[in-house]
Amino acid sequence: MKVLEGLKYSKDHEWVKIEGNKAWIGITDFAQHSLGDIVFVELPEIGSELNKGDVLGVVESVKAASDVYTPVSGKVVEVNEELGDSPEKINEDPYESWIAVIEIGDISETEELMDADDYERFCKEEE
């Protein structure tokens, strides 16, 4: 299972890449692996204001539908339309397959997220 240095992670298995006041959000390798073959991604609407913990999107595998939660509050400024046509990209390369970009409302929220080492340990306990 792959965990990338330099990203932040949530307990719901989302990854966050922070640059300035923007956060790229996707699901982790652990998450895609436990979901199995992903066949559909529902993206949020650009401009929607979300609170931390709100549903950012839905990822559906052959087995089931799973909500993706935003680990930070803010406004959706970009969505990854490519995943509409090629949802399997999340299985192939979860850390390149961001779902949406959020303009971070409260940067202090990112401090509660895990770093790579903590997340790796967290996953081991979940297994």
Binding site: G36, D37, V39, F40, E60, V62, A65
Partner: protein
């Protein structure tokens, strides 16, 4: 959870084990879509040892079975398999089963795993007056399903019978496979050609290993419950608990072919006759999503903003690359081409009624 004799093999092969009605079984090994496509293009092997087996024997065995099933086996030949729903008096379904006929006084019934106890008790309760002995022999058998176009070539290497002589729903009661006795039928639950093999549980691991070895050069892979479901779904084979249940009759499920109302009395006949004569008010249909979204079991089906039914099975179809579903809907909305909506996360997404099956079966018929 109960384990089949192959539990350790599933773990060694990287199978993702889930709780399936109390059985620890692999939902997938390499991935559902990959396994699904292998079964369509080459072959897959499934551990279906959880299925129930019930023996019915005695001078009245045939009459007894005729009474509890909706299909007519009076002209079924020895060493042939028949499929049938088994109904309650109100026409709801106890289970859908396979009947292996050895002779008019000996049958082996294959029942859904989660229904085994219920079916057995149902049979015992209805056997009064019939000279027959009913026994649940589920624990004695392991069952493997070898499915896909390469199945015959793979299996032929291991058996002492000529498989090319077998047609769909034939069975050989005492074939020899790797030197051991087994029941082999040309049957399955994937829409592909294939075989089901019933063997003494103690030889299950030996047989599994030999099949995988013999199939390697033919592209055989182990396949899990996930692919079994997507495969049967594309072929529109009903799944008990979804397309069939105590609340859904076989006529509503579109299984008219297996309901012989003209034969002598059987349990559920009056209710089914009445349903047929007064018109079937709801039906199982197939549909294709027009808007983007994956339909799932239980989602509402709407027309004009009102609920007209619900999804019984739905998924992304790996063979067709579309989001498809089966639904139980008001008959007024069952015609091919009808526009309906599926309620997915509170949004009405467009769908269109289509013909079933989505994938035409590749059985080897006589």
């Amino acid at each position: 959870m109960k384990k089949t004799p192959l539990y350790d093999r599933h773990c060694e092969l990287g199978g993702k084990i889930v709780d399936f009605h109390g059985w620890a079984l692999p939902v997938q090994y390499s991935g559902i879509i990959e396994e699904h496509k292998r079964v369509r293009s080459a072959a897959g092997i499934f551990d279906v040892s959880h299925m129930g087996e019930i023996n019915v024997e005695g001078p009245d065995a045939a009459d007894f079975i005729q009474k509890i099933i909706t299909n007519d086996i009076s002209r079924t030949k020895d060493f042939r398999v028949a499929y049938s729903p088994m109904c309650y008096p109100d026409g709801g379904v106890v289970d859908d089963i396979l009947i292996y006929k050895y002779s008019s006084d000996l049958f082996l019934l294959i029942v859904n795993a989660s229904n085994t106890e219920k079916d057995y008790e149902w049979m015992i309760r209805n056997m009064e007056g019939y000279r027959t002995r009913i026994s649940n022999v589920s624990d004695s058998y392991a069952q493997l399903a070898l499915q896909g176009p390469e199945s015959e070539k793979i299996l032929q290497k291991l058996v002492n019978i000529r498989l090319e002589n077998m047609k769909f729903f034939d069975f050989v009661p005492e074939a020899e496979i790797c030197g051991k006795k087994a029941i082999i039928s040309r049957s399955g639950y994937t829409g592909e050609d294939g075989f089901e093999i019933y063997i003494d549980s103690e030889y299950a691991v030996m047989l599994w290993d030999n099949l995988l070895e013999a199939g390697r050069e033919h592209g055989l892979v182990p396949a899990g419950l996930g692919a079994r479901d997507t495969l049967r779904f594309e072929a529109a084979l009903p799944l008990y608990g979804q397309e069939l249940s105590p609340e859904i009759t076989p006529l509503e499920a579109g299984l008219d072919r297996f309901v012989k109302l003209e034969k002598d009395d059987f349990i559920g006949r009056d209710a089914l006759l009445k349903q047929k004569s007064t018109g079937i008010k709801r039906k199982i249909v197939g549909f294709e999503m027009v808007d983007r979204g994956v339909p799932r079991t239980g989602y509402d089906v709407l027309a004009g903003g009102k609920k007209k039914g619900y999804v019984t099975s739905g998924n992304f179809s790996p063979s067709l690359g579309k989001n498809l579903g089966m639904a139980l809907v008001d008959s007024d909305y069952s015609e091919t081409g009808t526009e309906v909506a599926v309620l997915i996360r509170n949004r009405e997404l467009k769908a269109r009624i289509t013909e079933l099956p989505f994938y035409s079966k590749k059985y080897v018929k006589g």
